[in-house]
């Protein structure tokens, strides 16, 4: 599997606090990578930096197949995204990344299928086709029959599965998940994380996930342990 996203020498400071102190990380195709660490360790900052949400103070974030804003790309077929302008970053996040947050990411007034279709419509896909493509994700995620329900009419686990469908609808290269099961009970959490990893892998996308739950992290191929802004440990699981 080749690398699709990489961060080298990433540094990020908030005032006198160093959130990232020179982190190197590579994300490969169909890879699932869990980032773990105690509160304040810098794990969410690392995810946000890799996703182009936060601009690092040092180091670089490279994305395969992306044109570099700075002119000559650092390597053939790679683009440095940490220096992109806000508009291009926003478009990149929309087209090439998918996001699953802890909660509250679905628009409460839109039915589930329209929530999933929204990023496709933002990309210019006609509404009918966007909804049709969105519906394809409902069966694999166990959401059949819930297409017309609003987020408020779904359980927490169902809402997170709709969020996963929305993240995957644009067929992204990488799905970023920030504590995706943080608001769910243990059983629901296990079900959601199983679906998230398996469906993401099946779609061909990589998964980068922040979690503080070792059971959740165990579903991923690799686990990065972050402490005080540095990678303190690295472990690899063999996932069936």
């Amino acid at each position: 599997m080749s690398t699709v996203l990489a961060g080298y020498g990433l540094v990020k400071k908030y005032g006198s606090t160093t959130a990232l102190a020179g982190v190197d990380v590579e994300v490969r195709e169909r890879d699932s990578l869990a980032i773990m660490g105690p509160s304040g360790s810098g794990k969410s900052t690392l995810l946000h930096t890799l996703a182009g949400i936060i601009r690092p103070d040092g180091g670089q974030v490279l994305l395969r197949g992306e044109r570099s804003e700075m002119g000559v790309p650092p390597a053939e077929g790679w683009g440095r995204i940490d220096r992109l302008g806000e508009n291009r970053l926003s478009a990149l996040r929309r087209k090439r990344f998918g996001f699953v947050f802890q909660f509250g990411q679905l628009l409460p007034e839109l039915p589930a299928e329209e929530n999933v279709a929204l990023p496709l419509m933002l990309e210019g896909v006609p509404r009918g086709k966007a909804v049709e493509r969105a519906r394809r994700w409902f069966a694999p995620l166990g959401l059949e029959g819930l297409e017309g329900r609003r987020p408020g009419q779904l359980s927490g686990g169902q809402a997170q599965r709709v969020a996963i469908a929305r993240a995957l609808a644009v067929e992204p290269d990488v799905v970023f998940a920030d504590e995706p099961t943080g608001a769910l009970d243990q059983n629901t959490s296990a079900e959601v994380i199983r679906l998230l990893t398996s469906v993401t892998r099946a779609s061909g996308a990589a998964l980068v996930m922040v979690t503080h739950d070792a059971d959740v992290a165990a579903h991923c191929d690799r686990v990065l342990h972050v402490r005080d802004g540095r990678i303190s440990n690295y472990s690899q699981y063999t996932v069936a």
């Binding site: 908030y14 606090t17 160093t18 959130a19 509160s39 304040g40 360790s41 810098g42 794990k43 969410s44 900052t45 946000h48 949400i53 936060i54 508009n87 926003s90 478009a91 990149l92 996040r93 929309r94 087209k95 990344f97 998918g98 996001f99 947050f101 509250g104 990411q105 679905l106 628009l107 409460p108 007034e109 839109l110 329209e114 929204l118 990023p119 419509m121 933002l122 006609p126 509404r127 609003r150 987020p151 408020g152 009419q153 993240a167 802004g229």
Partner: protein
């Protein structure tokens, strides 16, 4: 055991953070604007009545001749198109001393002239041949006190006359059709309150019409204030509910918090009203500006308005939380779309049918009946609005092709009442605009601008007076064509009355000079002009025009403020979902366009509808009053609606920086 509600409410309010504080400040600001406007409306309504009361002494309080101690002739002359009320008073010999009229310390002696401060200024400013020579010559003018005046700008003179003076003779008080309310003579024994002057009598009624139309937008503004931060409060209190708080405790906490914020804002509005009284008093209405005291509503009204605004905000906030008490989970997750029922449509149609049936019977309705029908229109739209918004949302939602339109449409059908509240101010202002734009009462009588008329006892006198008029005008340097009118001559200002007409070219100064020059020829009556004849109609038209303009401007301002507040509140309440959408790459422009469309779509449909309704109502009113329709008002209507819509959009757009700020990025933590 001591109730934990108040301490907990205070603790939660204090710990709400900067954004909680923003919500509170916005709500308090809206409450302040609401109480300020309500107090101004009450002040103007009461003040207009007080002003009218100050003029009632001028209409003679007729008593039997045997009881009379004096003769009073109140009349009106015009200078620079402005009315000057002249009260001629003559003490009868061998009778008891007549009490002093209001504003004076004693009954005026013959030859004494007392004038209002504004008239004194004008007498000083204008050449004597244009004004001062209409009064007895005097070295100094006395000053009329405020008790005699409706306004510091009013032009009033009290002139002491000898009993045999022509100005108090019977001929001076003879009534023609155009003298009603302007000239009256009677034997009097004092100055009791009688009828208000024609220049102030309609003021209060006209103001009340504007107040009725303005109250609802102001109520909407105050209600919007109560709903500010509703989502934040819902989440917080739903969590408390889940933690075991009783429904009563939840509602008490909400009531305490919103009442505190509302009372603070309403008090601030009341303070602003009090501080701005001198500035408000300078705003002219009718006969001019106000005495500050006329606009002071008094402490009971002040307290009542503050209490009403506070109650409105509290009830509005508590109403929003009704569902928390019964279904905390449902509200916490916003499960239920706030649907509207078709009964609203049925009620609206029923009202329309009733109005159709009532006005379509061929006969004319009384004005009061039509005003009641207008009120019905108003109320019906209040019921109908959310239903239309709901249906609009569904229709547009089915057909939307772009994300922003889809988001806007779904928002409309998700919370049609909330969306209606946002636009209701301008939609109802459209009703006001439609109503007033065509309701300016037009008078179709012939106009004889440039003519100055002198009444004579008969045709023979008229010929003699005409000769004297030519001489007097020549001496005054006025070039005029003087003619004699007879009983058969209706094509002049005198319209069938014996007298003399002077056609005076050259503008207002010449006319004023001619009136002054011809004053000695009128047998105690002032020569008069077109302004005198059309005074009653023109006064009403002018008052309606002033009130309509003020109502329109205030409606639009209040509507824009409501829209701006609601838009800001929505951004604050939905900051999490907006923020996460933006992180996931949703362009800010899409979110912003959705917000604007959420307002524009119902506005375009409903404002058009209510404007048409308002225009229809005004046409019916005109029909009842037997007057013409002001067709030129259509231009005013279009301008008003365009400006109002732009103001509203500007108010919504003003919260764009807030949207940008709250969606700027993830929390800046080291995690």
């Amino acid at each position: 055991m001591r109730s934990p509600v108040l301490p907990l409410t205070w603790h939660l309010t204090r710990s709400a953070g900067r954004r909680g504080l923003q919500s509170h400040l916005l709500a308090a600001g809206a409450a302040a604007v609401g109480s300020f406007l309500l107090l101004v409306m009450v002040a103007v309504s009461l003040g207009a009545g007080t002003r009218a009361d100050h003029t009632t002494w001028r209409t003679p309080d007729a008593v039997p001749a045997k009881d009379a101690t004096a003769v009073q002739v109140t009349t009106t002359t015009y200078v620079r198109q402005e009315p000057v009320t002249v009260v001629n008073l003559a003490q009868r010999p061998d009778r008891e001393q007549t009490p002093a009229p209001p504003g004076l310390s004693g009954f005026p002696k013959p030859g004494q002239v007392y004038v209002s401060p504004a008239l004194a200024e004008l007498l000083h400013k204008l050449p004597a041949g244009q004004l001062a020579d209409r009064f007895p010559k005097t070295k100094t003018y006395g000053t009329l006190g405020a008790a005699a005046l409706a306004s510091p700008d009013e032009l009033v003179a009290v002139v002491g006359r000898a009993p045999g003076d022509a100005a108090v003779a019977k001929t001076a008080g003879e009534q023609n059709y155009y003298d009603d309310g302007l000239t009256k003579r009677a034997p009097v024994s004092g100055f009791a309150d009688t009828k208000a002057s024609v220049f102030t009598g309609a003021d209060q009624g006209t103001v009340l019409l504007g107040v009725v139309l303005l109250v609802m937008p102001v109520v909407v503004l105050a209600s919007a204030a109560g709903r500010l931060g509703a989502a934040r409060r819902e989440q917080r209190l739903a969590a408390l509910r889940l933690a075991g708080a009783t429904p009563r405790q939840i509602l008490a906490m909400t009531a305490a918090e919103s009442a505190g914020v509302g009372a603070a804002g309403a008090l601030a509005g009341a303070l602003a009203y009090t501080a701005l009284l001198p500035a408000l008093a300078a705003l002219p209405y009718g006969v001019g500006g106000w005495y500050t005291g006329q606009l002071w509503v008094g402490l009971p009204w002040l307290a009542a308005v503050v209490a009403a605004v506070t109650a409105l905000i509290t009830v509005s906030a508590v109403t929003m939380l009704r569902k928390v008490a019964t279904s905390p989970l449902g509200v916490a997750q916003q499960a239920d779309p706030r649907r509207t029922r078709a009964i609203r449509l049925l009620l609206f149609v029923a009202v329309l049918l009733y109005i159709w049936a009532t006005t379509g019977q061929g006969g004319q309705l009384k004005t009061q009946q039509l005003l009641a029908l207008l009120g019905l229109f108003y109320g019906a739209f209040w019921l109908f609005g959310p239903w239309v918004v709901d249906r609009l949302g569904r229709i547009v939602g089915r057909r939307a092709k772009r994300p922003a339109t889809l988001l806007a449409a779904r928002r409309l059908s998700d919370d049609p009442r909330g969306a209606w509240r946002t636009v209701s101010g301008l939609v109802l202002a459209g009703f006001v605009a439609g109503f007033f734009s065509v309701s300016s009462l037009g008078s179709e009588g012939p106009s004889h601008e440039g003519q100055v008329a002198v009444i004579t006892a008969n045709a023979a006198d008229a010929r003699h007076t005409a000769a004297e008029a030519r001489t007097a005008l020549h001496r005054a340097g006025v070039t005029a064509t003087v003619s004699v009118t007879s009983e058969d001559d209706f094509d002049s200002l005198l319209s069938g009355v014996d007298g003399v007409i002077a056609d005076v070219p050259g503008g207002q100064e010449r006319i004023d000079t001619a009136v002054t020059a011809l004053t000695p020829l009128g047998s105690g009556r002032y020569p008069f002009t077109q302004a005198y004849v059309s005074a009653p109609d023109d006064t009403i038209t002018a008052r309606v025009a002033t009130v309509s303009t003020a109502t329109l401007v205030l409606s639009f301002l209040v509507a824009a403020a409501s829209a701006g507040l609601t838009a800001a509140a929505n951004v604050l309440d939905r900051r999490r979902v907006y923020g996460l959408l933006r992180l996931a790459g949703t362009p800010l422009e899409v979110l912003d366009r959705a917000r604007v469309r959420e307002t524009v779509i119902p506005l375009a449909v409903l404002a058009g509808g209510t404007t048409a309704m308002g225009a229809f109502g005004a046409m019916q009113l005109n029909k009842a009053a037997g007057t013409t329709i002001n067709t030129s008002g259509a231009v005013e209507l279009v301008i008003c609606l365009a400006v109002g819509a732009l103001a509203m959009l500007a108010a919504i757009t003003a919260s764009r920086p807030l949207l940008r700020k709250v969606t700027a990025g993830p929390a800046q933590t080291a995690d």
